[in-house]
């Protein structure tokens, strides 16, 4: 038996750990360390944080999938539960898959609660060990986390050198903390190896599958996109889960945009009084020729709607990042959803439609944020990049980010002073080129280029109007511009299966779950083509894919089938031939729910 097939037969490098913690107790850094260790052992890994909208005291979970085959979505299974929150013991025990391992703090044994027969219960007296070893009250709480990392190091056969190296890096400047962390790891590791049969079948074996990969969250990758695209003005109002995007932009700017000699900053970040102002600041800046952006989430997008419609009609570029969270209303701010698709597509009153981009991983967050600036400038309209909390805030394993130095921003049709000199007259909203995109000028350019930006009725010359024909001429031209947009936005990603009669359509962070489901279903004899849309308006390729299939499953993370609605409204594919698979609990979608829904549909004979 070759080494590879032996691994495949085992559960090594193919399992899920869930860690149940209390928030505010320092578990996040321990869980991050665990995931980084697996990554640095060369093993592909996924990490998802399910955290409360709270600073201290509420339940929080972290899920790590060790995935030798690069399946970076949740599987829907839980093989090892590290239960550190007595309040959720029962729920955590229940969610463990049969044959799984339940590790809990046995300082206070809970025989009555921990009573499932089909799982292995491992008790580690974490609190007792830490209380005996540490004198400081805070350390006694914090070090329990490192102690379970130690126990897992033995149980999963993690590389202790890598763990210790990471601890060293983190606490290099804090010697006492460094020693305490090392001691705690030692305590847990020793206890596990003395009391349990280590390692477990679900263990980590070193691989070489993470070279050229990084672990990065989508908000950070988007911020890098803004930095590299040359954005200089960022305006925002803090809102979960988008806040870390501006935080990251700021820290990158501090590193790359500050003049070493003078201390002057080639950027201006305005923390606005609200989202209405944040988008206004963006528009004021783009009107004056800067690249500007605002990160927000659903509630912010609602507030921005009036100005988004203004920018559509007055034709001002703007880049918005909507890191979607669970709605409606305040909803669940720290949970994920894709429920702003329709409100973003048609944001604002009157006839408006907006360009949307849907990144599916941090690489695309980076690339599409650069593209968003180009499209916004080219089309003179708002471009909304729709992330979600899962992509935005979780660290995803992805390829190294790369930059092509030959890139130059596409600033679109802007007339400078010299160009104005060479033409007879300038009118702001004339369709000179027949693509629906007029020319614009920046303030300061001179009398010939001066015009009035307004959200009220205007004619193609830029003058105020209430004339029926003049008004209609302008809004009809905006339709031509929209058609041009459909040819400029990124094409969908299509995996066609030969002779597949059914297709799956999905979007954004559903991608890994759907791709894995397609593989699983193929092994079970159900063959599907897969298209992931990357942008709205839908390009011709989208409609073409739909029509190549008799039946389409639309997988998305909201209750009301918003992507399916958009496909219904904006393509001529018959609605009856589309079936929704919806996941909207607030947790990131898993492979299992997609597989089960399609199998059920096949069983009902609906898809066949």
């Amino acid at each position: 038996m070759s080494a590879k097939s032996r691994i495949n037969a085992s559960r090594a490098n193919d399992f899920v750990i869930r860690l149940a913690n209390v928030n505010g107790t320092g578990s996040a850094s321990a869980n991050g360390l665990l995931m980084k260790t697996i990554f640095r052992m060369g093993v592909p890994v996924m990490g998802k944080n399910f955290f409360p909208s709270n600073i201290q005291g509420l339940p929080t979970w972290y899920e790590i999938r060790v995935t030798r085959d690069h399946h970076l979505a949740r599987s829907g299974e839980i093989d090892i539960m590290v239960a550190m929150n007595a309040e959720t013991y029962q729920q955590d025990l229940k969610s463990l898959s049969p044959g799984g391992v339940f590790l809990y703090d046995s300082t206070w044994p809970r025989h009555s609660v921990v009573n499932r027969q089909d799982v292995t219960i491992l008790g580690v007296p974490l609190a007792k060990m830490c209380n005996e070893h540490f004198t400081n009250a805070r350390a006694r709480i914090l070090m329990k986390n490192m102690a379970y990392v130690g126990a897992l190091a033995s149980l999963l056969e993690l590389d202790r050198e890598i763990i210790e190296d990471a601890v060293h890096r983190t606490f290099a400047s804090k010697q006492p903390l460094l020693q305490a962390n090392m001691d705690a790891i030692e305590l847990g590791a020793n206890y596990a190896s003395e009391h349990f049969d280590c390692p477990l079948p679900t263990r980590v074996e070193p691989m070489n599958e993470t070279a050229g990969k990084i672990m990065i969250d989508g908000n950070t990758a988007s911020a890098l996109g803004c930095l590299f695209a040359g954005a200089t003005v960022g305006a925002w109002y803090p809102i979960t889960p988008s806040t870390s995007l501006m935080d990251a932009f700021k820290s990158f700017c501090e590193r790359y945009r500050v003049d070493r000699d003078t201390g002057t900053r080639n950027y201006c970040i305005v923390q606005a009084e609200d989202e209405l102002a944040a988008i206004g600041i963006v528009l004021g800046a783009t009107w004056n020729g800067a690249r500007a952006f605002t990160p927000t989430s659903g509630p912010g997008l609602s507030l921005m709607s009036e100005f988004i419609g203004y920018a559509y009609f007055a034709e001002l570029p703007a880049v918005l990042f909507d890191v979607q969270r669970v709605g409606p209303s305040t909803g669940m701010p720290t949970r994920t959803q894709q429920a702003d698709i329709l409100s973003a597509a048609y944001a604002s009153h009157g006839d408006t439609r907006h360009v949307l981009l849907f990144p599916a991983n941090p690489n695309e967050c980076f690339e599409l944020s650069v593209e968003a600036f180009d499209l916004a400038d080219r089309l003179q309209t708002p471009v909304i990049v729709l992330l979600d909390l899962d992509i935005g805030m979780n660290d995803w394993m992805c390829d190294d980010l790369e930059w092509d130095d030959s890139y130059r921003p596409d600033r679109g049709k802007v007339l400078g002073a010299d160009e104005l000199e060479s033409i007879e007259s300038f009118y702001r909203y004339l369709d000179v080129d027949g693509d629906g995109i007029p020319y614009r000028t920046y303030p300061g350019v001179g009398r010939k280029g001066a015009y009035f930006v307004r959200g009220s009725g205007h004619n193609k010359y830029g003058g105020y109007t209430e004339d029926a024909d003049e008004y209609q001429e302008v809004v009809d031209r905006l339709v031509r511009k929209w058609e041009t947009a459909a040819t400029l936005v990124p094409a969908p990603v299509v995996q066609r299966r030969k002779s597949a009669e059914w297709g799956i359509v999905s979007v954004g962070s559903c991608d890994y779950a759907v791709a894995e489901a397609v593989e699983v279903l193929a092994r079970r004899g159900i063959h599907l083509s897969y298209m992931r849309v990357k942008a709205f308006p839908f390009s011709e390729a989208v409609t073409e894919f739909l029509h190549q299939h008799k039946r389409i499953f639309v997988v998305e993370q909201n209750r009301d089938a918003q992507l399916k609605s958009l496909l219904t409204l904006e393509t001529d594919y018959p609605k009856e031939r589309m079936e929704s698979i919806l996941h909207y609990s607030g947790l990131p979608i898993d492979r299992r729910c997609v597989v089960e829904a399609i199998e059920a549909s096949v069983a009902r004979g609906e898809a066949a």
């Binding site: 590299f228 200089t232 900053r265 102002a277 800046a285 020729g289 800067a290 300061g444």
Partner: protein, 351 residues
């Protein structure tokens, strides 16, 4: 916002400023406001101020929100770019405009509805970040375009045209700005061009947020008896505390002042405002005392006008943001993009 072209008649004898431009070069389209509207007087004061300051019109961007007052940027400086924002949100557009291009002179014209109701938050925060702009509120106590509802600046006891009496406390932008740390706070009357023109000039030159609250009567809905925002009331109860004469850089102060009366204030570009105190008790540099003075007179029904407070030392938004002197929008892309090597170096952080 007008669609009536205004004929440009340039008489030979028309005086020219240092740029060789006549006052016609600072005018805009024909006003479509009601005949006698105070706003038109403010417009003409703005035209004169920019003309006299020798500012090239293309270096100005004019902004407004929604309402009668917000139509007026179409009536001046037609060689300047203009932005007619959504209701109450002009300050955020101005903030972005300034962030992108700090070299432009920004003038915003708003009204009491636009600034004190729907836009109170944005007004307040533009003040807070000491945005470098001139912000004029054409204050008439009513909503004109929607036909005469009270605005938030209507005084208690004032009677609407149809007889309704306002019982809610007014919001006074001047007192707000004084209390909130405003660096240039002024009040004037649309009918007093002698006071208004130098004040606008000073406001343009002020580095920071220059607020001028201009009582500008609405002849159609709020110029009757029992209105505290009428021409008649204003003429009777408005009292200047300070006269301000604007003196451009390199020009001598020619006016003769009595001893102790004149108080020159140096502006950032070297120009000066010479303040003449009308009242002995008034101190234009003492925020607390100035506010007390305004309030105590207000209780007696007197509205104090003039340049009421000035502080040239506070940093504006750009000072706080440490942005370079050149407009951010004009920084070459090569200086903004860290490039592929930096990107490669960054990757280690994420492993």
């Amino acid at each position: 916002m007008t669609f009536i072209a205004k004929p440009k008649i340039v008489h030979k004898g028309l005086s020219r400023n240092a740029l060789g431009l006549t006052i016609r070069d600072y005018e805009g389209g024909m006003s479509t406001l009601c005949a006698g509207c105070g706003h038109d007087s403010v417009t003409s004061a703005i035209v004169q101020a920019f003309f006299e300051l020798d500012i090239p019109p293309n270096q100005v961007a004019k902004l407004s929100g929604i309402g009668c007052s917000s139509k007026t940027p179409a009536y001046f400086l037609d060689a300047s770019h203009g932005f007619n924002a959504v209701h109450g949100r002009m300050p955020s557009i101005a903030t972005g405009a300034s962030a992108a291009n700090r070299k432009l002179y920004l003038i915003g014209v708003s009204g009491d509805g636009d600034s004190l109701s729907i836009g109170l938050g944005q007004f307040s925060h533009a003040l807070r970040r000491n945005l470098d702009m001139l912000y004029i509120i054409e204050n008439n106590g009513v909503y004109g375009l929607t036909k005469g509802q009270f605005s938030a600046s209507a005084d208690v006891g004032t009677k609407a045209k149809k007889g309704e009496v306002n019982e809610q406390q007014p919001i006074d932008p001047v007192q707000m700005a004084m209390a909130q740390g405003g660096t240039f706070v002024a009040r004037s009357f649309s009918g007093d061009k002698d006071q208004l023109v130098p004040m606008i000039k000073a406001g343009i030159r002020h580095k920071g947020f220059g607020l001028i609250d201009v009582l500008s009567p609405c002849v159609t809905f709020n110029d009757h008896e029992d209105s505290t925002k009428s021409y008649a009331y204003t003429r009777r109860f408005f009292h200047p505390a300070v006269h301000a004469d604007f003196v451009p850089p390199a020009e001598e102060i020619r006016t003769a002042y009595d001893d102790g009366e004149a108080m020159p204030v140096e502006m950032h570009d070297g120009s000066r405002i010479v303040l003449r105190k009308v009242s002995d008790q008034y101190n234009v540099h003492n925020r607390g005392a100035a506010l007390d003075f305004i309030r105590s007179h207000h209780r007696r029904g007197e509205i104090i006008t003039g340049l009421l407070y000035i502080d040239e030392a506070e940093p504006d938004m750009h000072g706080i943001s440490r942005t370079p002197d050149a407009p951010l929008a004009q920084v070459p892309f090569e200086e903004l993009c860290p490039g592929s090597q930096a990107m490669a170096g960054l990757q280690e952080r994420f492993r």
